[in-house]
């Protein structure tokens, strides 16, 4: 109750180790990104000592604006598709028997644990010019035998959805599981069609789950780098690819820093929007009553 209870004495020793670690290796580096954007590049691939605005001037180039726009656009599209698939699936999972629910949850969780690179590589095998999907589609005359399924924005979008979908299903399912399904039946008894009931009763009922799913998909999508790197081509480059090029090909760290600063601002925008839009009455009640 007061600071005199014995448990309170342990706060600093328990807090300091992780807090100092994270302050040095997360907080300081996050600020460095912004500072470096105003520094000159040194010829050996490091960060120079001079202050300059050159990097920022470079960022206004048209090619960067196009890549920035493509990053936002592909991420928005990924988020929309993930919500479109995840919502009916979460609805289904919340309505089946306990046993099936367990099986489905496990099936959704396994990809989480599976190597990121392995899952992207699997799609490279499937989409490969000599691969299964291409041959099947060519045999059905859906694509011409010369068409390439890889190295275009469509392939990037497909694999981004593949990677992100579990992140959308889990929070929506968590919300759907708590949803009172008798409300849907009541809506139908009152004359609403299935689709109307789904849209105007179920969807608002799970909106918190939908919001966290959207954030969990959208934010990592903005930072996509390996997916466009492996299955994408020059027409599907995203900010992450350009950052990597500046680091590994040009050795221009200030430039990479400036692009990362832009990406950080892009990431912060939806998080701040989520905080502002969340109305006070929706706050979850304190999860736990403190013991003291």
């Amino acid at each position: 109750m007061s600071t005199a209870t014995p448990r309170k004495t342990g706060e600093w020793p328990l807090t300091l180790p992780s807090m100092v670690w994270l302050a040095v290796l997360v907080l300081v580096p996050a600020l460095i990104v912004f500072v470096v954007a105003f520094r000159s590049a040194d010829p050996y691939g490091g960060v120079g000592a001079r202050w300059t605005l050159d990097t920022l001037r470079d960022l206004a180039r048209e090619s960067y604006l196009l890549i920035g726009w493509r990053t936002v656009y592909l991420s928005l599209l990924t988020t929309t598709l993930c919500l479109l698939f995840a919502t009916p699936m979460a609805y289904f999972m919340a309505r089946v028997s306990e046993r099936w629910r367990h099986v489905l949850l496990l099936l959704v969780v396994v990809p989480f644990w599976t190597s990121f690179l392995v899952r992207i590589f699997a799609w490279k095998v499937v989409l490969h010019p000599e691969g299964l999907l291409k041959r099947a589609l060519a045999a059905l005359h859906l694509v011409s035998p010369e068409a390439t399924l890889l190295y275009n924005p469509g392939a990037v979008l497909l694999v981004m959805v593949y990677i992100s979908l579990p992140f959308a299903i889990l929070p929506i399912y968590a919300a759907a599981e708590r949803f009172d399904f008798s409300l849907l039946e009541a809506a139908r008894d009152l004359g609403a069609g299935s689709l109307t009931a789904f849209r105007s009763v179920f969807m608002p009922g799970i909106r918190r789950g939908l919001a966290s799913a959207a954030l969990l998909v959208f934010i990592p999508s903005l930072g996509s780098y390996i997916v466009p790197d492996i299955v994408g081509g020059p027409r599907s480059e995203m900010i992450g690819n350009v950052i990597a090029q500046r680091v590994f090909s040009d050795r221009n760290l200030p430039h990479a820093g400036a692009l990362s600063a832009v990406l950080t601002l892009l990431v912060l925008a939806p998080m701040l929007a989520a905080l502002v839009l969340r109305s006070p009455q929706e706050e979850i009640p304190a999860r736990r009553a403190g013991p003291g």
């Binding site: 706060e11 807090t15 807090m19 670690w21 300081v28 599976t114 095998v125 979908l165 492996i230 680091v247």
Partner: protein
């Protein structure tokens, strides 16, 4: 009442979507054909080929050294962090939990580039040690969240009872608190270990030319190597993954 079949169809489609590419990959790893476009008979030649790939084994060694050390350090830091956040509801802890949340929400590439810039500015050479520092940083947050979840159901009065019965602070922590928390810490550590073994993006930025982990090796094989060899390696990794999932499920189901 008539129920729409649509949700069922979407669910089946999503599950097929999730597993079809993985299935193709596994089947291909046993395919004698080099290009995997047609089935040319069952073969273990790609698995046999893995044995002689010395670089894979060297990379596996680096990966395991980093994963074991990063898991150990992040398990300790994550557990103390969770205890601090659980026991104290102060402004300091609000800031603390914000710091813990940052690596969970920050895109990996931003963690990687910002650590690279830090290391470049303080002049820390890139290699196994810089990878270790980076891995502890993101693993610690995951351990903290898992242990914190475990603490939500923890009965603090057990500790008070131990103290009332004459146990010292040390004995109460070592003999009561830690054994009760052990499944939570183990689940967090297992998650940290898996994340460390699997991490590519952050590692790629802070590894430098000297140290190659398994994901970095797989990445360069995807870029330049022979596809069936990667399929065989991926299949082996999938088996390890499934065992890890099974183990973690067991840990979560076991209640304290």
């Amino acid at each position: 009442m008539r129920r729409s079949r649509f949700p069922l169809l979407v669910t089946v489609a999503v599950i097929v979507f999730f597993y079809l590419p993985i299935l193709v990959l596994v089947v291909n790893s046993f395919n004698a054909s080099r290009f995997g476009s047609s089935w040319q008979g069952f073969s273990l030649r790609w698995y046999a080929g893995l044995v002689t790939e010395r670089e894979i084994w060297a990379a596996l060694r680096v990966t395991l050294i980093v994963a074991v050390s990063a898991t150990a350090v992040s398990a300790v830091l994550g557990t103390t962090a969770a205890l601090a956040m659980h026991r104290h509801r102060t402004r300091l802890q609000r800031f603390h939990s914000l710091l813990i949340a940052v690596p969970l929400v920050m895109p990996e590439i931003l963690i990687g580039i910002s650590l690279l810039l830090l290391f470049a500015i303080i002049g820390l050479g890139l290699g196994i040690f810089s990878i270790f520092l980076a891995h502890v940083t993101f693993c610690l947050s995951f351990v903290a969240i898992v242990v914190l979840g475990r603490l939500e159901g923890f009965d603090e009065s057990l500790l008070e009872a131990a103290r009332d019965l004459g146990a010292t602070w040390w004995t109460a922590t070592w003999r009561v608190l830690l054994p009760l928390l052990a499944p939570g810490i183990a689940a967090g550590a297992l998650l940290a270990f898996t994340l460390s073994i699997d991490d590519f993006v952050i590692t790629f930025f802070v590894a430098g030319p000297g140290a190659t982990t398994l994901p970095i090796r797989i990445y360069s094989m995807i870029k330049h190597g022979s596809p069936p060899l990667i399929s065989a390696l991926s299949t082996l990794l999938l088996v390890v993954t499934l065992v890890a999932v099974w183990l973690s499920q067991r840990l979560i189901e076991r209640r304290a």
